[in-house]
């Protein structure tokens, strides 16, 4: 497994294939858009009975990331829960969450899905500022680190979750299992990060420039992958 380190406003960060961001100097692991309890919310609201295992899968991945990076603290950038009710309905997975919060200093940033979480271990805040960088759910006056959009990028025929790194905004992909995404060149995202870099997650990580140059030489590759 490789990772990708980069600098953003004089700070060093490591983007990880899981979609988590590690801040070595602070010993902090940052994730966004866990959407815990999504299947339960779907069952409640639309009656779709999706496999109810995504909360467990997401939390197990998170625990692994925390252990592997040696992080001391955790920041979740909002939409940690698919709605505020989901916190009460965690069921058996609640133990996994409590274990994490007991071992790591945890900060929950609120998001549009979980604007007022109740009964969470750890701190809750609308935003935070560390080393001159804002940490919030939706990118605003930067420089900030945020989530919300679940950015994705097409590369060599695959659509993969991606970190977007611009002048003022560092946007994380969704860490949750049951999450879709927005293409990096959708108008909203292109406006936030008109140029910079993207780090594509997956089995390995790759850094590409933004906006993507139109690489004519790769058309042959597209031909074989797409049709």
């Amino acid at each position: 497994m490789n990772t990708c380190s980069f600098r953003f406003h004089d700070q060093s960060f490591i983007a990880r294939p899981s979609g988590a961001l590690f801040w070595p100097e602070r010993g902090t692991l940052i994730v966004s858009d866990l959407h815990l309890g999504k299947s339960a919310r779907m069952a409640r609201q639309v009656g779709a009975l999706l496999p109810p295992f995504e909360t467990r899968a997401t939390l197990e991945r998170l625990a692994t990331e925390l252990r592997d990076t040696g992080a001391a603290s955790l920041i979740s950038l909002g939409d940690s829960f698919d709605d505020d009710l989901a916190i009460r309905e965690l069921g058996a997975e609640r133990q996994l969450l409590d274990d994490i919060c007991q071992s790591y200093d945890t900060l929950w940033i609120t998001g549009n899905h979980d604007p007022a979480p109740v009964g969470l271990p750890g701190r809750v805040a609308q935003q935070d500022q560390i080393a001159g960088l804002y940490l919030r759910h939706i990118a605003d006056d930067g420089p900030d680190i945020s989530g919300h959009y679940h950015p994705k990028l097409r590369l060599a025929g695959q659509r993969l979750p991606a970190f977007l790194i611009g002048d003022m905004h560092l946007i994380l992909p969704a860490f949750g299992v049951y999450t879709g995404g927005l293409d990096h060149d959708a108008p909203t995202l292109a406006a936030l990060v008109p140029q910079g870099r993207a780090v594509v997650t997956g089995r390995d990580m790759h850094m590409v420039p933004l906006p993507l140059p139109r690489v004519t030489a790769s058309r042959a590759g597209r031909w074989s992958a797409k049709r």
Partner: protein, 813 residues
């Protein structure tokens, strides 16, 4: 042909007899037999045999005798919306002529909401509908009232329905109708099939009525001025020859296998349409209005030809059609015979049909098919007798929308449906459990079950869910379609294309839709915006159409043709030359041997295996082989399967196919690879959608912006990890084994053609060339793609003048 004199006049009421004479018609023996049938009946008749009228005669006779009371008397179900319009028009005539008080209406997805609402309260005497609309009606609380007085059900084109999940669904609905109206009679109408008894069993038992088969069809290859190309599937080379044939006929139907091919051929035809003959285009990707216009023009007799795909494949009343031209190989002898039936819609004149092979492989297939037709052999790829469990899950859910369910009664009802006669109670209960609770082993939705048991009946927990459930009716899981419109805002709709096709387009790319070339501008709010570009050559249109495997019978005939030099006498010169050239460059496939070849082109190594096992089996083979190649570090990138061969490309050459084709290894690897591959995920998506795990349509959803849904692949992976024995995974596995057709066919191939013949060819071989241009490529995500991804990322950074300086990528342990 039997004479009318033999018929007992009593069976046909006098007014109907007179009406027949007034039309100058004589009822066929099988039409009267259908009238006489006491119970359920299955009519097997060639097209032009007056099948539909035979199905309706009892209803008309009852109307003549004033025996139609209030409420729905006859339900007609057809697989095609277009058919219901046609039948409605045809039926209206005798009803009007005879002054019968009989209200006929249709009800499909196209019927306005107000009319549908009224039909629930006040159904007509005769309702013409589709399986999906019937399922929808059965989901309403009013269903017992709507169908309580039902006396007859007429199922048209039942042979076509029986080949898909739509047939399973319809048979379940039929069983429901029998519970609601125990005295009703069912009439199945079928084209010529190889096994009428199986079809009768499928519809729950019926008396079989066989019509006279009529005269032998006049069928041959269309003589063309040029030889077909080495590759390609469009048949454009023959446009001028087809044009001449159209000019010589009254009305020609040009069938072609996929929508994209229909577009291209339509364009090619107009390019040589010097006389400006009126020629129309009809396929399922066109907007509804466009299709309606062509159907109407056809009925009016103002067209000379229509280029069509499967959307017109079933028994529309084509009146004046006197010539059918099939572009491309027919894939299936039975289908060819049924298609020929389109021409000369009169029982006593032979149908005239001409075949135009699109490439040299297809010449072989066409000749083999013609030989089979001459020998009177139909291919019988028999249908598995067991109905799909995913369809049953949907059915249970729909019925729960109508009224609370009694599981015992429902099980009895379900097993009265032909395809579910062998369903065990345990399997039924598993489906029931999935619908009610999701059926998960480790964790349950205690409070949010979909169905809850109260007083011995299963109730919908949240009655509001019924709306979403009804919106997701149906067993055809089409790829996501995007509407194509002209201009930036609210322009005219041109049709629909698949999301994956749209995703492959870049602004400025051109493609064909509705017979015109358009330029792709952007994707906005799920709408593909385009600008017409009349002068530009289109980038090839690759949205998908029908995919059908060449039958075992036909494949075997083709292989025999190639392998037997003595049989080459039946082949055109250019085909003989082509075979000879292939023999020089590499090897010719022969019965008893398994032939393969390796060559290099454009930085990729290609491995072609000529299995002659049919498209589906070749797809399975492609998945199996690429999996083994991945293991052997041959870095496969993808493959494409045709009916004859499987072509795999990758970064390393296959020098010896023996380790890849070792039967024991193939069998052993089956379960492992099956779980991992893209095809399984595609099947899972279909199963999960039909069974109601994934909802295609949500009330008020489908907005722009962030993709609301996530890929079904994620659900598949999650289930596999946490609940590997889940019902939907079981169904997916079973379907993949069968639907990817026949691991059995691969087994047979390995058994009967044990001798491997491999060549290292100096370049693309004559046989491999057509494969290189096939659509439907399946990428393999493995070491190969990882290498490509890395290359492309590096190339982009380099091209942008960037290095990884200050952004050093490093590898951690």
């Amino acid at each position: 042909m039997p004479a009318f004199d033999q018929i007992i006049p009593n069976d046909l009421p006098a007014p109907l007899t007179q009406w027949f004479s007034a039309q100058g018609w004589t009822p066929h023996a099988h039409q009267i037999q259908m009238l006489q049938a006491a119970g359920n009946a299955l009519l097997i008749a060639p097209t032009g045999g007056g099948k539909t009228l035979a199905g309706f005669l009892p209803t008309l006779a009852a109307a003549c005798r004033d025996k139609i009371g209030a409420g729905l008397h006859t339900l007609y179900v057809s697989p095609l919306k277009a058919l219901t319009h046609d039948i409605g028009r045809n039926l209206a005539r005798p009803v009007a002529d005879l002054g019968l008080s009989c209200r006929i209406e249709d009800r499909t997805g196209d019927t306005p909401a107000t009319q549908r609402a009224r039909q629930r309260v006040d159904p007509p005497h005769v309702l013409l509908t589709t399986p999906e609309s019937l399922a929808l009606m059965l989901s309403y609380p009013e269903a017992p009232k709507i169908f309580g007085a039902l006396r007859r059900v007429v199922i048209d084109e039942i042979h076509a329905l029986a080949e898909s999940k739509r047939g399973d669904q319809l048979m379940l609905c039929l069983s429901r109708l029998r519970s609601l109206a125990p005295d009703m009679q069912v009439a199945g109408l079928s084209a010529t099939v190889e096994n009428p008894a199986a079809l009768a069993q499928f519809m729950g038992g019926a008396e079989i009525v066989l019509a006279d088969a009529g005269p032998q069809p006049d069928i041959a290859m269309l003589p063309t001025s040029a030889a077909p190309p080495w590759s390609g599937a469009g048949g454009a080379y023959a446009a001028r020859d087809v044009m001449r044939a159209i000019a010589d006929a009254r009305l020609t139907l040009v069938f072609i296998n996929t929508r994209a091919q229909a577009e291209l051929f339509f364009q090619a035809l107009w390019a040589v349409n010097d006389e400006n003959l009126p020629i129309g285009l009809h396929h399922g990707s066109l907007s509804r209005d466009a299709r309606r216009r062509v159907e109407a023009a056809m009925a009016e007799g103002s067209l000379r030809a229509v280029v069509a795909t499967g959307s017109l494949d079933l028994g529309l009343d084509w009146g004046d059609v006197d010539l059918v031209i099939q572009i491309g190989a027919p894939k299936n002898i039975k289908r060819l015979v049924q298609r020929i039936g389109r021409a000369n819609h009169r029982f006593d004149t032979p149908s005239r049909a001409r075949i135009v092979p699109a490439n040299r492989f297809e010449v072989l297939e066409c000749i083999a098919a013609l030989q089979a037709v001459e020998a009177g052999e139909l291919d019988g790829d028999g249908r598995a007798p067991v109905g799909g469990w995913d369809v049953l899950c949907q059915h249970i859910l729909l019925l729960a929308c109508s009224a609370p369910l009694d599981a015992d009664a429902l099980y009895a009802e379900v097993t009265r449906a032909g395809p579910y006669a062998g369903l065990t109670r345990a399997d039924f209960d598993a489906c029931m459990d999935f619908v009610a609770t999701g059926g998960y082993a480790l964790r349950a939705y205690d409070r949010w079950q979909r169905l809850v048991l109260r007083d011995g009946l299963w109730h919908l927990r949240d009655p509001r869910a019924a709306k979403a459930i009804r919106m997701n009716i149906g067993t055809i899981v089409a790829p996501e379609l995007l509407s194509v419109r002209r201009g930036p805002r609210g322009g005219a709709p041109l049709g629909e294309i698949e999301e994956s096709f749209a995703a492959a387009l870049s602004p400025g790319d051109t493609f064909l839709i509705g017979g015109q070339t358009v330029r792709y501008d952007r994707l906005r709010d799920m709408i593909v915006e385009v600008t017409p570009q009349p002068t530009r050559e289109p980038k090839i249109a690759v949205f998908n159409g029908l995919k059908m495997a060449t039958s075992t019978e036909l494949s075997a005939r083709v292989l025999d043709l190639i392998g037997d030099r003595a049989a080459w006498a039946a082949l055109p010169d250019h085909i003989r030359d082509w075979l000879a050239l292939q023999a020089r460059v590499a090897q010719l496939p022969k019965p008893g041997t398994m032939t393969s070849e390796t060559f290099q082109r454009g930085g990729r190594w290609y491995f072609a295996l000529y299995s002659f096992a049919g498209r589906n089996a070749n797809q399975t083979l492609g998945l199996l082989l690429t999996h083994r190649m991945e293991r052997d570090a041959l870095a496969p990138l993808g493959f494409v399967a045709t009916d004859y061969a499987c072509l795999i490309w990758g970064l390393e050459p296959v020098r010896d196919p023996a380790p890849l084709l070792d039967p024991e290894g193939l069998r052993a690897g089956l379960q492992d690879w099956l779980a991992e591959n893209a095809m399984m995920k595609r099947n899972f998506r279909s199963v999960a959608t039909v069974a109601g795990l994934i909802q295609r349509n949500l009330p008020g959803a489908r907005k722009s912006g962030k993709q609301a849904t996530f890929s079904s692949d994620i659900l598949y992976d999650t289930l596999r990890k946490f609940d590997p024995d889940h019902l939907l995974l079981q169904i997916t596995r079973a379907e993949s084994m069968r639907g990817l057709a026949d691991f059995g066919r691969i087994e047979e191939m390995l058994r009967t053609r044990g001798q491997l013949v491999h060549s290292m060819a100096p370049h693309v071989t004559p046989f491999a060339a057509p494969l290189m241009l096939e659509a439907g490529r399946i990428p393999i995500k493995g070491a190969g793609t990882a290498r490509l991804l890395e290359d492309e990322a590096a190339r982009m950074m380099a091209e942008a003048g960037l290095t990884l300086e200050g952004f050093a990528a490093k590898t951690q342990a």
